[in-house]
Amino acid sequence: MDPKSLPTPSKIFRYEKAVEASTWIIVVLIIFGVRFLPQKLIDNDQVYYLIGAIAALALLYYLLVYKYFSRNNRLYLKSIADIVLIGVLIHLLKDYGVYFFALYFLPIAAAALSLEFINALLIATIAALFVIFEIFLSSMDLLPQTAQFYQGFWQISLILFITIFCRFLAVQIRQEKTLKEEALAREKALAEESKKEKEFMSLTSHQLYTPLSIIRGFSAMLYEKKLGELNPKQEEAITEIHDSTKRMVDLVSELLSISRIETGAFRLEKKETDLKRLLENIVSLINQTKQQKIKISLDCHEKIDSVKIDADKIRQVVYNLIDNALKYGKGQQIKLSCQQTDKETIISVRDEGVGIPKADFEKLFQPFFRGKTILELDNKGTGLGLYIARLIIEKHGGRIWAESEINKGSTFKFSLPR
């Protein structure tokens, strides 16, 4: 029999082995244990041999079922055999058989948990028939007894209750399992997609950067006169090439960053970070730069609790805002501030520069937007820095915005949730 052509096996086969083991332990206990009970149960010793023979036949049957049937059919056939075996044992043990009634529950529960409802119900019905059969035989011996009928009624009710309860449990377990499997499959597909995107982006970066880095390197050598003196026209030309290459590198770098963020190939590596220390380091590094004439001041609250952020990305955002403030800040003071509330941490960069018209506020964080006042000061930026800052802050669950007055300066603020 080709197992592939059989119905899909149930997912709850782990019960199968437990039920199997329990049934056999109890059968063995019955066969050998009853002999040691204080009272002799069965008149004729040959009954023990009969029980042994039935158990041996059942074992042979199970072995054949294991060999020739798929797991799903196997459980079905084994459950029926279990019920028959238990029914015969109960009958042979006469009055004491009633104590072994609970044995029915094992195959019934296993069937209800693992098989389709109709099959589980069939197995429960077989068990119920055995109970009725046993009552009928007892009644023949002991004359009609109301107690026996009540006992039978409760036993059948219990069998039905266990079937329905275990069936309900199985449906719940399957539903949960299906949901989990679906979620896992979705997660796997997303991870696979993200991995492919990441590989694609990495190779794209590599292919774009390689010729650019060669141009940048050789133009730097010419620009720095490492390859000999240049005449004024050559010097002017190489300065343009050198500056444009740098802009091209910045542009490609920022476009790649945006692609990585937008395609999900970029993932935040969030860690608990001492934000005050991070900002102090940024300010100290910028202020140490020799070419840096404007000094940046830091105003942080005394106590700033650590926040869970991707420190490298937040550093990139702060650098970006400070870089803008340095470009458009008219050489005045730049102040970096940090304050914390119960819900969020707000970081702001204030300059005393040209300011931004209110009409531009919403467009500031869109790609390639360059305000008129900004263009008057510098036309070499990519127009992507604030957009990247917005994407990074939004990825952190925060927001970024600007406040400004023309000729009085601008403040760029972003919040990070706590």
């Binding site: 990495s202 590599h206 390689t210 880095s213 940048r216 990585r260």
Partner: protein, 124 residues
């Protein structure tokens, strides 16, 4: 100051070789990782600049082998690549790289500063 550059891109090798020589450095260049390991063991450079995407062994494999070799494990190795830091930066750090430089973002003079800084740190 002796610098070994391992990169399969000949134009890149030529550019860095020229630049570093003008900065007064002795430059060794090889185009694959296997030869790079041999050259590093034989020549004991002060600093190694290592590309990542190369035929046969990639730069991270070469870095791993170099850092497991007692003869050369103490030489500072900088990955000089065009793969973004997000891609291999963490892995490079784990394997013991002294730094991760993206070629297009680092002008040659910045690379020279990095090499000098690393050598000064080793000597101190």
């Amino acid at each position: 100051m002796k610098v070994l550059i391992i990169d399969d891109e000949k134009s890149i090798l030529k550019m860095y070789e020229e630049y570093l020589k003008t900065a007064g450095m002795e430059v060794l260049t090889v185009t694959d990782g296997q030869t790079g390991i041999g050259t590093a063991k034989a020549q004991k450079p002060d600093v190694i600049l290592l590309d990542i995407i190369m035929p046969k062994f990639n730069g991270l494999d070469v870095l791993n082998k170099m850092k497991s070799d007692p003869d050369i494990k103490d030489i500072p190795i900088f990955l000089l690549t065009n793969l973004p830091a997000e891609c291999s930066g963490e892995k490079a750090k784990e394997l013991g790289a002294a730094g991760y430089l993206v070629k297009a973002e680092y002008e040659p003079k910045m690379v020279v500063d990095v090499i000098r800084g690393a050598v000064a740190k080793t000597k101190s």
